[in-house]
Subunit: 230 residues, 2 copies
Amino acid sequence: MNTESRDFTPSARDRFDRMHSTIRTRICLLDYAPGTRLSEEALAAEFGVSRTPLRRVLVRLEGEGLLHSVHGVGTFVTDVEISELAQTYQLRLELAELTGKLGAVTPKEELWGEFKALSARSKALLKAPDARRFAELNMDFFIALLKLTTNEPLRDICERLYFQTTRIWLKSVFASKIDLADEVDVFDREVHDILRALEVGDLHAAALIQRAHISMSFTRMLNGAGRSAP
Amino acid sequence: MNTESRDFTPSARDRFDRMHSTIRTRICLLDYAPGTRLSEEALAAEFGVSRTPLRRVLVRLEGEGLLHSVHGVGTFVTDVEISELAQTYQLRLELAELTGKLGAVTPKEELWGEFKALSARSKALLKAPDARRFAELNMDFFIALLKLTTNEPLRDICERLYFQTTRIWLKSVFASKIDLADEVDVFDREVHDILRALEVGDLHAAALIQRAHISMSFTRMLNGAGRSAP
DNA sequence: CTGCACAATGATGTGCACAACACAACGAAG
DNA sequence: CTTCGTTGTGTTGTGCACATCATTGTGCAG
């Protein structure tokens, strides 16, 4: 998780995690939009390594459904069909609710501070909407929510599906800047409501709220796609 | 989408899938028991390729939680702690039930035939219990059940968790040969009950039966481990 | 002008040699 | 006899050169 806790151990595994996390974040935050071709050589040069260790990372990301390599053509960021996206969202709904049932734990002091900071960032974003900041905050908040369950396999799967789908949703949000303010507003309410539920200690309610917002986000995306389509 | 429709294209991707599937099956069927060290060189020689493409497969399997490579030491088949195994099983229970809710479809003619064949194999196994055959049948039956839902992400996750956990359960079953006959008997009833539910067209009931059996399997494993532990 | 064969280009995939690393066996100092 | 340093051996990780593949541009025939 926090690979930067140790000062610096240039071991193989640390480099792998660094590169993996970096590229994955870039994909999720649309630095590499769906369909973008990634240059192995350029990335290898950026990280100061050869193609070999970099390809290791790409293979892993391909296994996570974020990349797709084709011999002789290139390595591309995957795009997700609406039909498959709908299936994934349906699954995410159920998994989000499961988060509140399987190994749910009330946040500790440290996590509380994290949530407070996230809430502050949300409030700040309300007054000055920014696409990039919104994407980052959304991701950080989701990762923080994942810490509410101790069921690691469930966390891994939720995280995996998040990185798989949220970027598609973000793409549609970024497509029409008019809706960004609305999305930020809705998101702030989600943060507010979930924190409220957590304060009461009702983890199941928090999960249900999250589920509801995931569902509504997808619905808004479908509607928005229908409107802003060329 | 369906790369296996063409008769045979000895392309890179096909070789990758072949090696991946082969090694994964061996791990699940305990040909490579947890803790076993895999020789990259030997495997590469077996498949008639260099270490490079083979390592690609190993990296993928490591991402699926089946292998674990350590620099300078070796590549080992992962073992799963009881605590994590319990979490995974808890999750599998919920996912099994979801299978009956998300995109559940009644089996087609082809799938019916498959189920009939599986039932026959189960009956045959009843009269002549065999560890290896049991492991294979268990896997084939699970894969067949997965075809009852059209939700691909859910299928992928269930399959992934199956390969992750069932081998641990099988290990405990194989540890005490006395229980093998009982397990085969229980399994045959599971097949029978699920097929019965499918014939009626009640997919949710089939999923619930499966869920119950997964739960009971884990419980028996815990008890059995307590008894046969040295 | 159109259509096709073909070479040129650039991408990923592969093979091989070597570096980095962990562990074990060994031996000398205490 | 114990203990620590050292070396040997086998493993995974890395870098590089080349093979293989798909695309594209080009030139010639129609």
